[in-house]
């Protein structure tokens, strides 16, 4: 909405387009109120009426929706949305844990279900191979700790195995008595939980995750089923 006064016309710019007024279109002040001069009534009445019509504001809604959709794509990528939803999910899990009565947390469970289904849809689009190999919980938390898919794809498998247990790892580096940690976030995976030798399965899983992240980042074909089958054979 910009008024600029030139010698011949008033021009008026907006999202919807440019509006031009006639040179006789003037404002005059009387007792604090703004009254429009009674010159050339037909032309400016049409203009003023169009501002009050519903179509004018519907145009505003459509134009603003289009521009915000463009801005969303430019300002934030999928990594940002995944990180934010994982943060909110962790808070919801924390709030739900101490409540033992199931009737009380119906609304909380609904909110958790909504966020989880939204995250699953995002991950299937953004990183299908990683989602197939690592489960829902581990894949999302690995992405959150690493920061983005690009950083995760550049990590070695050994680093992915320890991701999430940084404090234990740095204690091992400083004092010689401690042992290095065997697993970080990967510990919550289904295969690691069920196996008898947890250190070995965590190592094998981290290998496959490193491959899957690299394939996802360079947008290769879907090989998640094949990687998961190989893992199951090796673990059992």
């Amino acid at each position: 909405m910009a008024f600029c006064l030139t010698m011949t016309t008033y021009s008026f710019e907006n999202v919807l387009g440019k509006f031009n007024f006639t040179p006789k279109f003037r404002f005059s002040k009387k007792k604090g109120r703004i009254i429009i001069d009674k010159i050339n009534i037909c032309s400016y009445k049409e203009v003023l009426h169009s501002f009050k019509k519903k179509d004018f504001f519907n145009g505003f809604a459509c134009a603003n929706l289009l521009i915000t959709a463009k801005d969303l794509d430019a300002s934030a990528d999928n990594d940002y949305f995944i990180r934010e939803t994982v943060k909110q999910l962790d808070n919801l899990y924390k709030a739900k844990n101490p409540i033992k009565d199931k009737k009380l947390c119906v609304d909380l469970e609904e909110a958790i279900f909504e966020k989880e289904s939204y995250l699953e849809r995002l991950m299937e689009k953004h990183c299908p191979n990683l989602f197939a190999v690592a489960d829902f919980y581990t894949a999302s938390h690995l992405l959150k700790i690493a920061g983005s898919l690009k950083k995760l794809s550049q990590m070695a498998a050994r680093k992915i195995q320890i991701l999430g247990a940084e404090s234990a790892f740095f204690k091992f580096l400083t004092s010689p008595e401690r042992k290095s940690p065997k697993y970080g976030v990967i510990f919550h995976h289904q295969l690691v939980q069920g196996s008898s030798n947890k250190g070995r399965t965590a190592r094998l899983l981290a290998d496959k995750i490193a491959i899957a992240a690299k394939v996802d980042f360079f947008k290769g074909q879907f090989i998640g089923d094949k990687l998961r089958r190989e893992l199951n054979e090796k673990v059992v």
Binding site: K52, L72, Y80
Partner: protein, 177 residues
């Protein structure tokens, strides 16, 4: 069926429960600064003609877009309310300005937007958050400094404390002349 709005989630509903009388006209156009998930904007949009909703966070605005598609008379804008020139061309002249932002310079932001977009005779509604302006000071002292800052440019009509629903929050209604 009429939707029920809770005073704990919306500051405008809390102020109305405490006795603030806000008169919305069904033709009014509203500029809403800090419209997070679109709970209060949908409340205002049911009573007025059109709402421009400004929000800075790209995560939260996804929910706002869904609300605006449902209601039909809300226009979501992804911009910083501290820089009104960035969304200057996407907004028309406005009858009501409503602000609910947790910032240190929230009065400054409010006056910037009022000067640019509010018509003469329009209403400005400001939710004052005393703790986000100054943590250590007494909240009633902070509120008086806000009042003196507003009185230079606007005429204050009414103000209410939102005590049982929100802590250390006030709602001010003022008029531009």
């Amino acid at each position: 069926m009429k939707k029920l709005y809770e005073p704990c989630r919306s500051k405008l509903v809390a102020a109305e429960k405490n006795g603030l009388k806000v008169k919305f006209n069904w033709k009014d156009v509203v500029l809403y600064l800090g419209a997070s998930h679109g709970y209060t904007p949908s409340y205002i949009a049911a009573r007025t003609g059109f709402v421009f909703a400004v929000e800075i966070s790209p995560y939260v605005i996804q929910a706002l877009i869904e609300v605006s598609k449902k209601e039909g008379n809300i226009a979501p804008i992804l911009a910083d309310a501290n820089k009104p020139l960035s969304y200057f061309k996407r907004v028309s002249g406005v009858d009501v300005v409503y602000q609910d932002i947790a910032q240190k310079n929230q009065v400054e932001i409010f006056l910037k937007n009022v000067n640019l977009f509010l018509k003469n005779g329009g209403i400005g509604l400001l939710a004052v958050k005393c703790r986000s302006i100054d943590v250590s000071a007494n909240p009633s002292d902070v509120f008086e400094t806000v009042k003196t800052a507003l009185e230079k440019y606007l005429k204050i009509q009414d103000y209410k404390n939102l005590e049982p629903y929100e802590k250390d929050h006030y709602m001010i209604m003022c008029k531009k002349e």
